[in-house]
């Protein structure tokens, strides 16, 4: 019972670490997937714009869209306004004609395109999360919206509204957060970027290939402290694992004092006793890791059920051996003191222990 409880207590921080890493990985992947899902090859953003989190800074003139659409090799241009809501969810203000030219058309699961300024299109995940259907009203950015369509997810944000309406709500008339460009051939991406940067008035703007953008999303998220956060949680996990194993093995040594005496009377050396204690701790560590991995699947299922749009969690296999190594380090450190204590027991006193 003591061992099972210890395995559970080790499993919880393992789950915490794997869930956090899975969320971080999943949300970055989702963000990158959505950017790629736009069908664009190049994205243009305002000077000083970052890859993520400040997408709402609508500082690009809307007039850039027709201008960029005329550039050589550009076959489609799409202007988008982004407005962050909730945790990291975005509302995208779009022109559906541009979206259709860029992506080849949204895939509607229910309803259809905008028919009024207060219409909203949700993807299936956000609709499921909010339990909304076509025809329902939904409050977003303190504004009531009429749900006109539900589309398959994976293109831009989970929530699409008419570009003009969002610009008015943000008091950013004729301004955009970003402009996506689709080229006749993705192989021309570098050449087009070089050309655009040499254009008068565009030199200061951020013009990235989608590959650059997705890698910058990763970098940006890391730089904004998520890596440090993961390290902090990992450290807490190691400390908890250490404390649990230390307490558990200390109890075990107390409970088994007489057995330790028996083993010593049979010729068990200090190393043999220490090895037994460490082996038990390692088994608990391995058990806790396996339980933590199993619970991380449960956490992902729960997240997918309750918040499918807001949070995406991946199962990150490369982290399994890492958490196992961390757990074993914690278990070893935790078992060392009780183990050495047990190894140093006087056999006569241990045999007399009741």
């Amino acid at each position: 019972m003591r061992s099972l409880l210890s395995v559970l207590l080790i499993g919880v921080p393992v789950t915490l670490i794997l869930t956090l890493v899975g969320l971080s990985h999943g949300m970055i992947q989702d963000s990158q997937r959505r950017q790629r899902g736009s069908g664009a090859d190049i994205v243009v953003r305002a000077p000083n714009a970052k890859a993520v989190l400040n997408q709402s800074a609508a500082a690009l003139p809307e007039a850039f869209v027709p201008r960029l659409a005329q550039e050589p090799n550009v076959v489609a241009a799409m202007g988008v306004v982004s407005h962050p809501i909730e945790v990291i969810l975005m509302v995208n203000g779009v022109n559906l004609d541009e979206v259709n030219r860029m992506t080849g058309g949204l895939h509607y699961l229910a309803g259809g395109k905008f028919s009024g300024p207060d219409d909203v299109i949700l993807d299936q995940y956000y609709a499921e999360q909010k339990k909304k259907h076509v025809g329902d009203t939904i409050e977003i950015i303190n504004h009531p919206w009429h749900i006109c369509g539900i589309v398959e997810g994976g293109v831009l944000s989970h929530i699409l509204v008419p570009l003009k309406t969002l610009q008015e709500l943000d008091a950013e008339s004729n301004k955009l957060s970003q402009i996506y460009l689709r080229l006749d051939n993705p192989a021309n991406t570098d050449a087009v970027i070089s050309h655009l940067k040499s254009e008068p008035g565009l030199a200061d703007y951020n013009i990235w290939s989608m590959q650059e953008l997705t890698s910058q999303i990763q970098e940006s998220v890391n730089n904004q402290g998520l890596s440090a956060f993961v390290v902090v949680i990992m450290s807490i996990g190691v400390v908890i694992g250490f404390a649990v194993v230390c307490l558990s093995m200390y109890m075990a040594v107390l409970q088994r004092t007489r057995e330790i005496g028996i083993l010593k009377s049979l010729g068990g050396s200090r190393t043999f006793i220490l090895r037994i204690i460490l082996t038990e701790a390692w088994i608990m560590g391995i058990g806790g890791t396996i339980l933590g991995i199993a619970l991380s699947f449960a956490a992902r299922t729960a997240i997918q059920s309750f918040q499918p749009a807001s949070f995406q969690m991946d199962i990150v296999l490369p982290w399994w051996p890492r958490v196992l190594a961390l757990t074993l380090v914690a278990a070893t450190l935790g078992a060392l003191y009780p183990g050495l204590n047990a190894a140093a027991h006087d056999p006569i006193e241990a045999l007399a222990y009741e």
């Binding site: 005496g261 028996i262 083993l263 009377s265 049979l266 068990g268 200090r270 056999p347 006569i348």
Partner: protein
């Protein structure tokens, strides 16, 4: 009985320190035991029997004096040396059996085998002893499923599986009823007779002591006539 000396104790002293007080447990013991001898040590509580047993068994070092067991001078041994001696040279049988509770009888015996580093394959001599002990059918049971008599037989099997030079039995019948006591004592005597196993047995019981070839008495940390 073999005539060679297997245990030689000369001027043995042992003093325990309890807090800041020195408590003498042995005050100059001289003892000689021949190989193959079955020696009974009798004495009241606190006479030093168990301390003598612990020193000869390598569980604790002597404070002064000379103790040679199977050619090894115990006073010169380190903790590691005494551990190696317990592993190979001596086997213990305790009053409270002291079996590992989570292991079956077979595994209890196997642990001693493992620690001694002896050949784990069953040898004919040990099979014969198992037959003598009458526990062959009970080997897959854990101690809590065995009677006191059976547990003590398993403890004897565990003690002799590595064929130790000396078997040390500390009140082996202290927790047994009359019938089981007699059975265990007969097993010890049989073992001594058939295999020439040297046995030192501590007991309070004069009748039990009678199973040995010779009885020595202890009082106040000394052997008395």
């Amino acid at each position: 009985m073999n005539n060679g000396e297997i245990i030689s104790v000369r001027g043995l002293h042992k003093t325990y320190r309890v807090g800041s007080v020195d408590v003498p447990a042995l005050r100059g013991v001289d003892l000689s035991v021949a190989a193959g001898e079955f020696l009974s040590i009798v004495g009241p509580s606190g006479s030093g029997k168990s301390t003598l047993f612990h020193i000869i068994g390598g569980l604790t070092p002597p404070t002064a004096g000379e103790v040679v067991v199977a050619g090894e001078n115990l006073a010169a041994l380190t903790d590691g040396g005494r551990t190696r001696m317990r592993r190979r040279t001596v086997g213990f049988v305790f009053q409270k059996f002291n079996l590992l509770p989570n292991l079956t009888a077979r595994d209890n015996i196997a642990v001693a085998h493992y620690l001694a580093g002896t050949n784990p394959k069953p040898d004919a001599k040990f099979e014969e002893i198992l037959g003598l002990l009458g526990i062959a059918a009970r080997l897959d049971h854990k101690p809590n499923a065995l009677s006191g008599g059976e547990q003590q037989r398993v403890a004897i099997a565990r003690a002799i599986v590595k064929h130790p030079a000396i078997l040390l039995a500390d009140e082996p019948t202290g927790n047994l009823d009359t019938e089981n006591s007699r059975a265990v004592l007969e097993i010890l005597r049989d073992l001594n007779t058939r295999t020439g196993q040297t046995i030192l047995m501590i007991t309070h019981n004069p009748e039990a002591a009678g199973y040995g070839h010779r009885t020595v008495h202890m009082r106040d940390g000394k052997l008395v006539a």
